[in-house]
Symmetry: D2
């Protein structure tokens, strides 16, 4: 049985990544692709790497007939997404890739995003889309909110450790290194090749990055009390990849064993042998997350490093994984491709 | 029905690329992987990006039992390959990725490679592995010689034009831009990141590159008389991709139409609309070749540009395409994945 | 004696490069820096790499008092430059880095740039700024038009060969590979890191690049009859550098000797030993141009390759070289820094 | 008055960087260049970017007449350096760029480097070469040991904070991001472009990096009691640059003020305005170190980020700065060039 899907916001990187992944999916068919400013164009014109595919012409959202659409991916900008989703049929299954439905508390949403939420009804029913930890809720959800790519990486490293209380909850430092595609296809001076290539820097330094809202929500929920992590992202000259170096206080062997147990049956989470460190080059273009654990020379200090592809496992791959769950498909369908190296 | 294959030389880039591609192939199973100097190691140790796969441990060639192996990929260094293949069972189907069996004339082989051929019996039966042009021969071949990656790119741009005599055969210039993975995983100073990144240069300037042997052989055969092209490769700071800018004398519209006719039914060759130029970023990691044609401002001059991924369509993807033909599978099986962009 | 200069358009890459170079010049002092949209900001805010320098605050052009300014660099966008220069004091020495005054024939200007020239009086007196070939005229010029960066590279390879008629004038092909900073700090999708990195492509294919106007003008003037070259630029994933691979018909040894003679006393032009090919990595950040010559295997065909840094020798370095000439300084002052490698 | 210098180990990156810097120095002249395996070659052959310079031909160390040499730079591999220096004239001024003389305690040396020290007499007299903090000792030193590039970066961020006790000495985390030229021109698989480009990873994870020996020595000395920092380096796909993100416990404004006071008169240390973060792109090719300070959202936590060029300020620039001091020159001579951006 084939499921028909629509992709809203198909002219951005996460939209294109969804098309790439779904093109290999045996039972999902793309029935509609929207892109407001590029309506009327073909995907081959917007993304020449997809020119071999037979795809619907890009249209405006208002032109889509959602009858017969089984699921809709929203790869729209933050804030736009909530407005669009509020107006979509209320029985349509939706996987949202934006930040709009990630935070359960509307006040937290407003604090981090600067505006009151415009789709409170939908916000209430949204399920947080970190598949490995919300699998059952996602299966029966109507609206799933894809996690932030940085937030996903940090959570894969930390959730089992917080849940089992094997680390000091008050002294967690996440130093992230992010590739540039996470910033999307937007025209900003600091995303130009001439600016980024051969240079790297920290940004949102001091705890101002919006993904902290997700960390706070999720970690506090798991711990049953407020947990605040210190989180500093850095932009590095690469296109895909997030590497989260997490500094925690706790016994390294215990931490490794805790992660081993938590992820023993997870198809996409690969825990490396103790002492090995992952690299973004080894997960590029795939839905895998590699995690490594090492003991520091200072007793009681442990380094946990997690790596994933921000566009795949961090965004569109996760979205397809969730769609599989919502549509009753095998969770891994269309997602087992090997990473591209070199 | 499942076909069992062996991959000899699995610790190089083309070997790893074969594993990546075959991991998604529904009817091919990897039964053996060899790597002389890394025998005893797992692929996960040599190529951590493949750690999610269940694969045989690396072994020495001499340890492989070829009974029950349906086809063998040889991803060995030049010269080693002919020695190994001479000693393999003589009824074993082989796809060779080295340069050893590409040239039909042993004298030409010696001229370009500097040593007498050591497997003349096998050399006689080898079929040139450019799938789109030797499809029928490949189906019934025992030994297929994969083409050079640069040679493949140039031929996709030029073969139909030479066959139909729509260009001046005595004035063909190929200016190629190659990414670094084409040089393999060898330890050479000029392949270091610090040397290559942020710089580019021509090499083998003046017509000394070995792939000229293939161009001479194939183009002269098609034309029915000697054809010698001028060919200058350049190394650019990227990991995957070959871009061949071909300068020819002939009418641009006729040339575009000739290519359109020749490639109308080819699943992997995408001819762009007249006047558009392809980019390596749009074929990365895929088995597609994009070709563009434009008229120069000087009457009677035409530019043809072809782009492909040297490790996929230029090497391991082509090898799998040929294996599909030799094993009676659909030619495109396991090869229709979309390119990875960005 | 110190010369005071102004730099108009200091917020672009060529403006910043001028500041970098002049900061090491013993007798030139920056008296004013303009940037219309960033007026009021410091250079440290716009270009943090220059924060160690004491520099004037950015202002609007209208705020500059040109009394006491000995020379003005115009690093403004095309078209804006001519309007600004028409309104500047008519006895002010000017080095213009834009394309506005390069073409001697106003009709040619309009053909390539699409608008009638708005400063015909100034256009008449402008001297073409290729220092090595217009040295004497530049010394006494009031207004010097900096050459295009691609145009400079091609001319260094070809001018002496055309002048001495050692090549076929009707069959010259320039295949250029340009780094991205040549496109400036403008917000265009195709200049984003995620778009450019790991990919390369031809553009302005077919003879539509504006620098052809310069090639036509200069080569025809030298030859004393119309000369039209074929010119195809390619964008490669690097920040600085132009590599021009020039395919000519003529004897390679004669060509090498002709260039050796022509450039024997030039401080910035380095002719490599016969058969060697230059690389952009070896001229980065410097005012040098490296040229190599090799014979093709096809008799009578020669490859000439020239490499320079588009922002230095191709633009701001050349501009300072010309300013030195105009101000009576040693031509090489402040320009002999070694390239940055790796 | 001109000082004659020799550079031992001129075929590596730090050797070439010394030549680049000295080529602009008004009073230092290169009298000899050694490279054991490349003796007899010219620098133009080994480093074509230096071909415009008139330099001595590369020779073996044994061939150098040290009479008349005022100072010798040793850019030799670790361990080789101590053997060579033990055999050099004992009144020759030496700036050593290797790790051999950095640690004051021979036991610590053996612990971190794995072999007993082979030049204990010289080791005793060596002065630690962090110019900003050992200025007076360096002026009168005979043998100066250049610091490790990572060690220098971390110390610029931390020394004044430890000295004034404004941070918790028992909870310091250094997360470093290093470019690849720091690993030198050695032939290792993980330094290949195809391996490194588009990927990044942590290494020496857990406190095994040798520069920890320097941190331990210097920080403990300043504090007057043992101080052990946690230090994890990461390799990122860039050629030059080190970015040290330092996580400390202490008041951010106090920390910023402490650094401002400490570096008020330092010509090469640029403290950014409070809250701003430095980038490696803004110090490339220069001798500057940029430092930023920001308060984390968690009270009492501060992030200090330092950026410098590993080959310049982290190695050869520092070496020249020390040579200036030892030769009685102005400390900044030949070192004030602006960074290269983009």
């Amino acid at each position: 049985m084939t499921h028909k899907v629509a992709i809203l916001g198909a002219s951005g990187y996460t939209g294109a990544e969804l098309v790439r992944l779904i093109s290999q999916h045996p039972t999902i068919e793309i029935a509609a692709l929207s892109a407001e400013r590029k309506a009327g164009m073909t995907m081959a014109q917007v993304f020449p790497h997809l020119r071999h595919l037979e795809l619907p012409v890009l249209c405006k959202i208002g032109e889509i007939d959602f009858t017969g659409i089984d699921l809709c991916f929203c790869a729209l900008p933050h804030k736009t997404s909530q407005e669009v989703i509020a107006a979509l049929p209320q029985d349509l299954k939706i996987v949202d890739l934006s930040a709009d439905f990630r935070l359960r508390d509307p006040d937290e949403y407003e604090k981090w995003y600067g505006n009151p939420h415009a789709a409170l009804a939908q916000q209430k029913e949204a399920v947080y889309g970190l598949s490995e930890f919300y699998r059952e809720e996602i299966k029966s959800a109507r609206l799933v909110a894809g996690t932030g790519c940085n937030a996903a990486t940090g959570q894969f490293a930390l959730r089992p450790l917080i849940a089992s209380a094997v680390i000091d909850l008050d002294d967690i430092i996440l130093d992230l290194k992010c590739a540039v595609s996470g910033a999307g296809r937007s025209l900003k001076e600091n995303l130009l090749h001439a600016e980024l290539s051969e240079g790297y820097h920290g940004y949102a330094v001091g705890g101002t990055h919006r993904h902290l809202g997700e960390f706070d929500q999720e970690f506090s929920k798991i711990a049953g009390r407020p947990v605040k992590v210190q989180f500093t992202p850095h932009l590095v000259p690469a296109n895909r990849g997030i590497l989260a170096t997490v500094y925690v206080k706790g016994d390294a062997q215990t931490i490794h064993q805790t992660l081993a147990t938590a992820y023993a049956d997870e198809p996409f989470i690969e825990l490396l042998p103790f002492g090995e460190a992952p690299s973004t080059r080894h997960i590029r273009g795939s839905n895998f997350c590699h995690i490594g654990v090492a003991a520091d020379r200072i007793e009681g200090r442990t380094i946990v490093i997690a790596a994933l592809d921000n566009l795949t496992k961090g965004s569109s791959g996760q979205a397809l994984q969730n769609a599989n769950l919502m549509l009753g498909e095998e969770e891994t369908t269309g997602l087992m491709m090997a990473p591209l190296f070199p």
